[in-house]
Amino acid sequence: MNQKHVILSILLAFFACFPVLFDNPYWIGVLNDIWLYAILGLSLNWIVGHTGLFNLGHAAYYAVGAYTAAILATRYNVPILWAMPLSGLAAGLFALIVARPIIHLRGDYLAIVTIGVGEIVRIALENDVFGLTGGSNGIFGIPRPEFFDIRIRRPWQFYYLIGGFLLLTIWFFYRLEQSRFGRALNYIKEDDTAAEGSGIPTAYYKLAAFVIGAVWAGMAGTLFAAKMSTISPGSFNFWESVLVFAIVILGGAGSIPGVILGAFLLVGLPEIFRNFADARMLFFGAAMVLMMIFRNKGLLPPLVRKYAGVVRKRGGLA
């Protein structure tokens, strides 16, 4: 137990001081991407990891959040950080509308429908729906965020903004995981008939998982928009959804450390192997297949929950 805390503290300290120790904008930028994908992964983790719902269109909520923030900031001069909860809300509402009719679909059918939703959103963005989205050029000139009079525009500043939000996310999500909400989702994933028969409103919780995943993806979208200052539909395509999905599944579905590790590997490793740029995706695909064959729970599967007064036992038949 204490060993784990020590390791965590060291890692935390290291990453907290990283920009100070290494003044390397390139690697800071890479870490910024990792933080962003970690947040996305954690958001999808509720849907895929905890509840076991196959969502392959998560980029749609990311997009709704990013575009909401961008539109509010460029057209209505809303400071981008204030737009964050609004983008989350927009994404959450969108998820509520979209997920409600499809939540009862069986696994692989749900996967296909979510792909369809993701594609429809992307196509709508490309076609400049409502005249707001700027078509395939997207929206540019998104103003920089301001945090207590500090204008955030350098990579190291974004590092602390996004990294800070990630820490906040981990804080809240860990507590949520350990609560009745987290348990309910896991019951549903294990056996949803048994869950319903034990008194858990499964339809409600499946929807809730989708919504909370979407809300957080939407807020991540705001950070993305702020960081890039230009967004276009190309950033929210199916392969984005697949990437986030892979981060969750390969890292460890239902496990916060697993998802974060997943983000490090799937976003960080390709950067390290930049030279093999083209072959990267090849390895990625092969890795997915191999992981499923050899370690299908992911690299860091979730740990069994602990309860006060209950001694965790292992082993044979009792």
Binding site: R180, E190, D191, G199, I212
Partner: protein, 268 residues
């Protein structure tokens, strides 16, 4: 007013009538057995009561209120809890976590309360854990609380399902073949447990093939054959009912033995 009453309930699947105008009632505080040959429709009746299926016609009333068409989780909230014929535990979770599933509907904390760990939420969690402990002690599984459910023996898994069902504080407990896979010793302990549950004021409705258990545990029996009720009454009455005897004709030697041992006389 009966605690539970079924009124001319009908359920068909495609061309097959699984439940054919079945009516019976369960009085509060009693232990009632639903018996009949295999495939008679007993589990279907249970699934109708618990809301997994909706009756095509007829009504089901609990405490006077119709529960027809209500979702299963709502029915649990209203006070009916169940176990499953094929064990449906959360195998990869510890025993105590399985029981906490039953506590879920008696708690209220939502997303915000949980993220913020409000005092109310913390109190609720503590209480739920306390309830789980009590239920596990009641069925004799507290020692195994930290074990994964999949590590329990078959008989103990059945007890765990009962603990989970009890955790929701039901008025009516529905047990679907609770003695399935149990040996004689475990069955005897189950009988004691059912009596203890009765003493707690909980009404029990069970499906069981173990005639010895049924005869000793139940005050009233309802017999179903091919989806139709063919008898309802006390164990003695039902045992000597010619239609029941006919339905069970072709019954195995062992089952005859059990009916005989259960109460001295035998229709075989």
């Amino acid at each position: 007013m009966s605690l539970l009453s079924l009124e001319k309930v009908v359920k068909t699947f495609g061309g097959l009538t699984a439940v054919n105008r079945v009516s019976f009632s369960v009085e509060a505080g009693s232990v009632v057995g639903l018996i009949g040959p295999n495939g008679a429709g007993k589990t279907t009746v249970f699934n109708l009561i618990t809301g997994n299926y909706t009756p095509d016609s007829g009504d089901i009333r609990f405490n006077g209120v119709s529960i027809r068409g209500k979702k299963p989780h709502k029915i649990v909230e209203m006070g009916i809890a169940r176990t499953f014929q094929s064990i449906r535990l959360f195998q990869n979770m510890p025993v105590v976590e399985n029981v906490l599933a039953g506590c879920h509907c008696r708690m209220k904390s939502g997303i915000f309360a949980s993220m913020l760990r409000t005092p109310g939420q913390k109190r609720e969690e503590k209480q739920a854990l306390e309830t789980a402990r009590k239920m596990l002690e009641f069925v004799g599984l507290w020692e195994q609380a930290g074990l994964l459910a999949s590590n329990l023996s078959y008989g103990k898994q059945r007890l765990l399902e009962i603990a989970r069902a009890l955790a929701s504080g039901p008025e009516l407990l529905i047990l679907d073949e609770p003695a399935g896979g149990m040996n004689d010793q475990e069955t005897a302990e189950l009988l004691t447990l059912i009596r203890e549950i009765g003493k707690m004021g909980i009404t029990v409705l069970l499906i069981e093939h173990d005639m010895g258990l049924v005869m000793r545990a139940c005050e009233k029996l309802v017999v179903i054959e091919y989806g139709t009720k063919i008898a309802e009454g006390g164990p003695e009455e039902v045992k000597n009912n010619p239609r029941v005897i006919e339905a069970y004709l072709g019954v195995e030697e062992e089952e005859c033995e059990e009916i005989r041992n259960g109460d001295g006389e035998s229709p075989c």
